[in-house]
């Protein structure tokens, strides 16, 4: 049979042709074998080292396997209603997605046409920029100022074609955040002219009183869309579940581009379990992070290594060699870190905070490797 290649140049939009696909990391067992690592400590993805809350574990272990043969709730009905009870917003104000990455796509598809622009920072979570590009949109990347989002520069960069502004709060990877006052000042100046997405993937790690709860601001700012995830604090990264919250007139629009049935039944059950936690899991996690961060900073100070360590369950370390070389050396010792050249922070690594016993081993290996 003569299989002729289809005319890809004609079939594939020009803005897709120029994109380099994201290549995810290989599975741990493959990497461990490739690097002959004695073990693998995952310090690269900012997962919660304590795992999911007990109620979520119970939901997972109690999941009836026969449910796997049935379609899940197409719009995560019970989860949306539970979020409604917890926040006071209508269940229609929530859209659940297959991880926060999926809801980023929903928002850009809902508001942007090819040629429109989104605005975000140059050194932040890369998926906003990536989704915008494969949607034919331009990403205006505003340099961070003192490692934080620069509100004035973002406001000045807006044009008629700017549809969505993405603010990562706290920012991955710098851990900086806008306070309640800073956020409100910014939203006031936007005057509702653009959709402002507040990505709060790491919000549950922040205990400071001045940290804003975006979901509470939705009533005041109908152009505000808040992202939350169950992948970080709630330890459900493997199940891929996150959500967005917004004024229901906004979610009515976003729902038009949303994929239904993309969130599986087990993820929905586990997320409901996670929300049943009485706060103990969050307290325990925060305590672990506080101790781990204090230990790490003390050791980095001793080693005269610079670092950027804000909020979240991670810290960035500036290293005196290529970050990618350090990755390979650390992998051979069992520590998988995130290289930061791709985040436009060359010669930095980002590490997920672990219990101090693990961090001691990491520091010891780091010293050997640099």
């Amino acid at each position: 049979m003569n299989q002729t290649l289809p005319p890809l140049e004609r079939l594939v939009p020009s803005y897709v042709q120029v994109i380099t696909p994201y290549v995810p990391s290989k599975p741990d067992d493959v990497l461990r074998s490739a690097y002959n690592s004695p073990f693998i400590i995952r310090m690269n993805n900012n997962e919660n080292v304590l795992g999911p809350p007990p109620a979520a574990i119970e939901a997972i272990s109690g999941f009836d396997p026969i449910q796997a043969s049935l379609y899940p709730s197409g719009d995560s009905y019970h989860l949306r209603h539970r979020l409604s009870e917890l926040t006071g917003h209508s269940p229609c104000s929530f859209i659940i997605g297959n991880g926060a990455n999926e809801v980023i796509t929903f928002v850009i598809k809902a508001f942007c046409s090819p040629g429109d622009t989104i605005i975000t920072a140059d050194k932040t979570f890369a998926v906003y920029e990536w989704v915008a590009e494969f949607s034919g949109c331009e990403s205006r990347l505003i340099p961070l100022k003192d490692n934080a989002f620069d509100a004035d520069a973002i406001l000045a960069a807006r044009t008629e074609r700017t549809k969505v502004i993405f603010i990562c709060n706290p920012n991955n990877p710098t851990g900086t955040y806008w306070t309640y006052d800073q956020l409100c000042r910014f939203l006031d100046k936007v005057q509702g002219q653009q959709i402002v997405v507040l990505d709060e993937a790491y919000a549950e790690f922040v205990s400071n009183q001045d940290f804003p709860d975006g979901i509470r601001l939705i009533s005041r700012y109908p152009n505000l869309v808040v992202f939350r995830t169950f992948s970080k604090m709630y330890g459900l990264a493997g199940l891929r579940i996150g959500y967005l919250a917004a004024d229901r007139r906004i979610t009515d629009v976003i729902r038009k581009t949303g994929v239904v049935y993309s969130v599986n039944a087990l993820a929905q059950a586990a997320a409901l379990g996670a929300l049943a936690d009485d706060g103990a899991h969050i307290r325990k996690t925060r305590e672990l992070i506080r101790e781990s961060r204090a230990y790490l900073q003390q050791e980095l100070d001793r080693l005269h290594l610079s670092y950027i360590s804000g909020e979240g369950n991670f810290a960035m370390i500036q290293v005196p060699i290529s970050d990618t070389l350090l990755y390979r050396r650390l992998m051979q010792r069992g520590y998988m870190v995130r290289v930061m050249t791709g985040f436009r922070f060359p010669n930095y690594i980002r590490v997920t905070l672990h219990p101090t016993t693990v961090m001691e081993g990491f520091i010891s290996s780091l010293v050997d490797c640099i």
Binding site: V23, I321, T324, M331, G342, N347
Partner: protein, 437 residues
């Protein structure tokens, strides 16, 4: 640069030749190329079209694309089910007009000589593309005396791609300060501007924003790898080299490129930002494994290395494994032992030459039984042009390259280093600096 392209689809029959040559001539002229360059484009296109038409079936068509690339024009022929005799594209190929059997190939032989590059791509088992590339001719920069720069970098200096005049000034300052050891495109300021406009080369300049240029760094995106040139500094400064490298890395970090290479590092490269690519066979008079005679190429990866597979000749396996261990690179090394299988009849090499620097780099298009003869002919021809610095880039993902290992060794080449992700996979770079007797 505005993308300018002309497309044509015609039946593959000789009656169409004037449509093809007429379109190519008009397009190349419209792209602003000179008479001589236009003539070369027309002649090359005519010869390729005539050859394809002579081999085509009655219903066959060819798609022709004429694309403006700034400093070059590319004419691409996409066709199906025709086997091109790639060996006649070798720079060393000879065509005997008295040999009737080779007359059909004469046209391709001519096309290969009037064009600056001929590239063949295979889209599918049936579909292939021949690209003819004709470059503009540029005046030499003839660097003259340039106004001296202040000793200090101004406080308000900026790093940016700059404007055309700043790029030309940078090229001239590089020529003046670094002399013979610069890439040839930097000798022609106009070509540099066209290459940057055509996105063939990227550049960052350190300027005062008022026309003075204090330094620059340039880079070129290849398949997986970026080759960088510089940083070139025109004043003495402690951190400008680092600033230029950091700015470049921030710009390339989202390109999808896997690694970055500086073949000939300048003294201002911040070494801690890179890895030295050590020699495959360390010289016996060093205990560090670093060769004494020349600077090692510098390398860094842009993302996490998740491993790869390489195929090596048994004689090289120990040094290759040692090299990967030294670099902390995870590679599955497959030792391929020839077991009597035969490659095809013909060998064809791609040659990149820098005549001004007396160096050339070869890589294979096809590897055949005549590899030793074809390689010897290439070396002879290059030596006659006073090119003695000859390298060969071996793709360690291509199992056929194994057949070339004994040929290269017998021809005076030795493996120098490996460039991880330099080709479809890792590249082993061989070098023959001395003329082989």
């Amino acid at each position: 640069m505005t993308k300018r392209m002309v497309k044509l689809r015609v039946p593959l029959c000789l009656a169409m030749v004037e449509i093809v040559t007429g379109t190519v001539g008009q397009a190349v002229k419209a792209f602003g190329f000179a008479f001589e360059e236009t003539n070369r484009a027309v002649l090359g296109a005519e010869e390729v079209f005539v050859y394809l038409a002579s081999q085509a079936g009655p219903d066959d068509e060819v798609a022709i694309q004429i694309e403006y690339g700034g400093y070059y024009v590319r004419i691409s022929f996409t066709y199906t089910n025709i086997l091109l005799p790639v060996h006649v594209l070798n720079i060393t190929a000879v065509n005997n007009p008295d040999d009737v059997s080779s007359l059909a190939e004469m046209g391709l032989f001519i096309a290969a000589r009037v064009c600056d590059q001929v590239i063949i791509d295979k889209n599918s088992p049936e579909e292939a593309v021949v690209h003819l590339i004709i470059e503009k001719r540029y005046p030499d920069s003839s660097p003259h005396e340039l106004p001296p720069l202040p000793d200090r970098l101004p406080d308000d200096s900026i790093i940016s791609p700059g404007g055309h005049e700043e790029m030309k000034l940078a090229a001239m300052r590089v020529s003046l300060k670094y002399g013979a050891n610069i890439p040839s495109f930097l000798r022609f300021p106009g070509k540099l501007v066209d290459m940057v406009e055509g996105q063939e080369i990227r550049i960052l300049l350190a300027t005062d924003g008022k026309g003075a240029v204090y330094g620059c760094i340039l880079w070129k995106l290849m398949k997986h790898c970026i080759e960088a040139f510089g940083p070139y500094l025109f004043i003495s400064h402690d951190t400008l080299g680092v600033d230029l490298v950091r700015s470049m890395l921030e710009m390339v970090s989202k390109t999808g490129a896997v690694c970055i290479l500086i073949r000939e590092p300048t003294p201002d490269v911040p070494l801690s930002w890179f890895e030295k690519l050590p020699p495959l066979t360390p010289p016996p008079d060093t205990d560090t494994g670093m060769p004494l005679q020349h600077a090692l190429p510098l390398y860094r990866q842009l993302d996490e290395d998740t491993g790869s597979v390489v195929v090596v000749h048994p004689s090289l396996a120990p040094s290759v494994q040692r090299w990967y261990d030294l670099m902390y690179l995870s590679r599955q090394v497959i030792i391929s032992i020839p077991a009597g299988e035969k490659p095809g009849p013909y060998t064809s090499f791609s040659v990149k030459m820098e005549k001004e620097r007396h160096c050339a780099s070869l890589s294979s298009i096809t590897i055949g039984n005549d590899a030793a003869l074809v390689l010897a002919a290439h070396q002879k021809l290059l030596w006659e042009q006073e090119i003695f610095d000859i390298s060969y880039e071996m793709d360690l993902k291509d199992e056929m390259e194994i057949f070339l290992v004994p040929v290269l060794i017998d021809s005076g080449f030795s493996p120098e280093y490996i460039l991880p992700w330099g080709g479809t996979g890792d590249l082993m770079v061989w070098q023959a600096r001395e003329r082989c007797q």
